[in-house]
């Protein structure tokens, strides 16, 4: 194994350390918490910053409360890299048009119809303007990254990635006079009868009451809250890895739902992919992904295959593997392949585990050598001859094997043999607050909230009931963030 990449699971400890330190000494507050702001934005990612900037540009005074320390600001936006926006013609960075209708059809397909059509079509229409608006806020685009040619027409990539995008938004917000407080966790919200009055903020070991005329909740989902995940998944959630920020604990979402905001989205669902099992518990980000499933076979801890590895081209299938692995004993699986496949996919963060024989490989993985040999031999015996081409649905398949491998099936027999251990990696959750086209929250009784708005992952379930399409989370964040900020400012001034 390569030196130096710590396989660490102690992120929560680090958080505790931070918490202890901040409790030990009372930090002076760098912003005026006693004043009444027009707009209070809770959260610090793309949606929150778009809301803060747009509210400020609409003339409101704005305070952003980010629960994370400055380095970790921005939630999962730090790990993003592109945004899906509709456009009618090719641009300097986009290779061709992506019409509103095509965007809508893509959304309909990935969600299987679990979307609010009016809201979704509104978002898609607004996304066209976002392409320029976000540049006006200091964000820079670049052509799609190497190995992402399939997204070159539909998705605009941030120069330098999501953290660069965030840095630009924060600089703009700062320049406009938005107040930002880090390490500022909202621990309570005073909401009565659909109206927000104040928020209680834990900052520097003290609690502060913050008043504002309107609230924008942009504090993400609850994917980093293992206890909450366990409510739906049971103890197996202990074995999940969280791909993004450890700060998305859903506390603001929970407060809103408890205080009468209507919920939307399936609480039991989350977006899960199979990632390297050696990844840290939190915040491993994009680099722990593995895209070599189609080149080999995937076995569980009993060295048995459990799903068709060649069902469809990888981008269309990779998001089902988190769930598949979650259903296996101990939530662990192993991708097994041989030498000819080694350089056919993106280089990985952790090197594959390597052995000269299948039995030796099984030993290194802690699997029964005989069982793995049998599985590989059975698989090899079922492979029919064909012409291998991983860029299309080729004719290399198995016959008489359950489950089958429908494409790209090649015998695994050329040493050295390789394996990657994989676990479910949770990207985001679908449960959220219901909103309308103004990003205004809707209460459980169907009435509109008086002064509460939501943007980003916390309301993504309105548009994205299930599934995912690359870059759509950022579209939801920017479009509804911008709208929420504008409407919250308008609301405050009335």
């Amino acid at each position: 194994m390569k030196v130096g990449i710590a396989v660490s699971r102690d992120f929560p400890q680090e958080q505790t350390k931070v918490a202890l330190r901040s409790e030990a000494q009372v930090k002076p507050v760098p912003v005026e918490l006693t004043r009444r702001y027009d707009v209070l934005v809770v959260g610090g990612g793309n949606a929150a910053l778009c809301a803060a900037i747009s509210a400020r540009r609409s003339g409101a005074s704005v305070l952003v409360l980010e629960g994370a320390p400055k380095f970790y600001r921005g939630g999962n936006t730090r790990h993003t890299r592109n945004m899906r926006c509709a456009h009618d013609a090719a641009t300097e960075i986009l290779t061709g048009p992506y019409t509103e209708e095509e965007f809508w059809e893509d959304l309909l397909r990935v969600t299987g119809g679990q979307t609010d059509e009016e809201l979704a079509r509104f978002m898609i229409r607004e996304s066209k303007e976002i392409l320029n608006w976000i540049v006006e806020q200091g964000v820079r685009w670049q052509p799609s990254l190497g190995g992402t040619l399939s997204l070159g027409r539909t998705n605009s990539f941030f120069l330098g990635g999501g953290r660069a995008m965030l840095n630009a938004l924060y600089l703009t917000a700062e320049r406009l006079g938005v107040d930002v407080l880090y390490d500022a966790e909202v621990v309570d919200l005073d909401i009565r009868d659909g109206m927000f009055h104040s928020a209680t903020v834990a900052y520097g070991g003290q609690r502060h009451e913050v008043h504002a005329a309107s609230l924008v909740a942009a504090a993400g989902g609850f994917e980093a809250n293992i206890e909450w995940l366990k409510q739906y998944w049971g103890d197996i959630a202990e074995n999940f890895l969280i791909r993004g920020t450890p700060y998305n604990r859903g506390s603001v979402l929970k407060m809103l739902l408890d205080k009468g905001v209507q919920k939307i989205g399936d609480p039991t669902q989350c977006h899960a992919v199979a990632i390297d099992a050696r990844a840290p518990k939190f915040d491993g980000g994009i680099i722990t992904r593995l895209d070599c499933v189609v080149f080999g076979i995937v076995v569980n801890k009993n060295a048995e295959r459990f799903y068709d590895e060649g069902e469809d081209i990888w981008p269309k299938r990779y998001a089902i593997w988190g769930r598949l692995v979650a259903a296996q004993p101990d939530q662990i699986a192993y991708i097994i392949f041989d030498a000819p496949s080694l350089e056919m996919f993106m280089p990985s963060l952790y090197p594959p585990i390597k052995a000269d024989s299948i039995a030796e490989l099984a030993g290194k993985l802690g699997l029964d050598p005989q069982a793995l040999e049998t599985t590989v031999e059975t698989f090899n015996g079922a492979v029919r001859p064909g012409t291998f081409d991983h860029t299309i649905l080729d004719d290399c398949r198995t016959e008489g094997l359950t489950p089958p491998k429908s494409h790209w099936a090649r015998p695994i027999r050329n040493a050295p043999f390789y394996a990657y251990p994989v676990r479910p990696g949770i990207t985001f959750t679908y449960l959220g607050t219901r909103v309308n086209k103004e990003a205004r929250m809707i209460m459980a009784d169907g009435r509109l909230a008086a002064n509460m708005f939501a943007a980003g992952e916390i309301m993504a379930g309105n548009v994205l009931g299930k599934g995912y399409a690359a870059g759509i989370g950022m579209t939801i964040g920017s479009v509804f963030g911008r709208v929420a900020g504008r409407e919250a400012a308008k609301n405050a001034c009335n």
């Binding site: 330098g160 990635g161 992904r289």
Partner: protein
């Protein structure tokens, strides 16, 4: 395994970065990295010398410290780069000069200034050395033209020879061939990239120095230094031509070409290095190689002193201080020439070489060859996410 800890760390980082690639649009280093799956010492030395230290990838990285992946590319490549100078130095026995470079450069400069000053005092009548000298040949009454040309010509050609030898070592280490250097298209591209400092702008917004706010100041100061240096070189060359071809002896009037070139060059070479010193003092320690500081400082301070004494010589040339200023200026210039192969000056040579190689690699990638088709057809897991 790798020769040094810094190279080990660079290898680890390139493996992390190669599985991310978000920084692909920032500079030349990351596209060059993507062409490789494994990294030899030579590859890492190439990437390190290709890096302009703009800092954008550190500010933009979601895995930079305090994240446990601890990704700090600018600092690590700065360490590898600074180590690489020792590796290529000619003659090899002088490699220790890079160990405590600030001290070495200071001593050589002081010695050089001292020798010129006391040497000229010893050979000259005090009345000449500290008297007012004007008219054609004024300088040569302090030191004869032939002596000057001999001493500085020898120092200059020694420096050039040592730099060429160093470059050969670098070129061999990164695994490059003679053919690459004779490819006009690559060399011309590298010249354009050098003259524009194309990769010192973080992909557009500017470079990062003290915090997450991008600026273009370092690029500006470097341009002033770079072009100032070449204007001064042009001034000296013109004066040499005047002397030998036209028989015109220095000092020349202020409006004459060598003086105009030298004045503008000198101003650039004062303001540029001063700006770079200021930027270095303010630089975020996270971006720096602490061990390379004295080398960096020694180099810019040396440039600064060469130009300041040159300008003072121009201003004071009709006064009794001329002899002293001439001795100081010649001392610093001589010290500068002698230390060129043993100072941060070499960064420009190796970086230019790295840019030539990158120009070649980039062209190969953008030509429809089988290797390009292979590189671009790598399937992408994130395409659906």
């Amino acid at each position: 395994m790798h020769a040094t800890k810094a190279l080990e760390e660079a290898d680890r980082l390139m493996t992390v970065c190669n599985s991310c690639r978000y920084c692909e649009g920032l500079c030349a280093v990351f596209p060059a990295m993507e062409l490789r799956r494994a990294f030899t010492d030579g590859d890492l030395n190439y990437l390190a010398n290709l890096c302009h230290s703009c800092g954008a990838c550190y500010t933009d990285c979601q895995f930079s410290p305090p994240h446990e992946f601890n990704v700090n590319v600018p600092q690590t490549l700065a360490k590898v780069r600074n180590d690489s100078y020792k590796l290529y130095v000619w003659p090899r026995t002088l490699a220790p000069l890079f160990e405590r470079n600030g001290l070495a450069i200071s001593l050589i400069a002081a010695l050089s200034v001292g020798i010129f000053f006391f040497g000229l005092m010893a050979f000259n009548d005090p009345a000449v050395m500290f008297g007012v000298q004007t008219g054609p040949g004024a300088f040569y009454r302090i030191m004869s033209h032939n002596a000057m040309a001999g001493v500085f010509g020898a120092a200059f050609f020694y420096a050039i020879a040592a730099l060429i030898m160093g470059f050969r070592m670098f070129w061999r280490d990164i695994g490059e061939t003679r053919e690459t250097l004779t490819n006009g298209v690559s060399v011309w591209q590298a010249m354009k990239d050098t003259m524009a400092l194309r990769y010192l702008d973080g992909g557009g917004p500017g470079c990062f120095n003290e915090d997450e706010r991008p600026t273009d100041r370092r690029r500006l100061y470097h341009h002033m230094t770079f072009y100032g240096f070449f204007l001064c070189l042009a001034a000296t060359s013109t004066a040499t031509l005047y002397h030998y071809l036209l028989g015109m002896e220095a000092p020349y009037p202020w409006y004459d070409l060598p003086v105009i070139l030298g004045t503008f060059g000198g101003i650039g070479l004062v303001v540029g290095p001063a700006g770079l010193i200021w930027a270095k003092l303010k630089r975020d320690p996270a971006l720096r190689d602490e061990n390379g500081r004295s080398m960096e400082m020694a180099f810019v301070v040396m440039l600064f002193l060469v130009s300041v004494t040159g300008l003072l010589l121009l201003i004071l040339r009709a006064t009794p201080a001329m002899g002293t200023m001439l001795a100081l200026h010649m001392g610093f210039v001589f010290g500068f020439f002698m230390t060129m192969p043993y100072s941060k000056f070499v960064h420009g040579i190796y970086r230019f070489g790295a840019l030539v190689r990158y120009a070649k690699e980039r062209r190969a990638l953008h030509e429809p060859t089988p290797s390009k088709a292979k590189a671009l057809s790598i399937p992408d897991a994130k395409a659906g996410a």
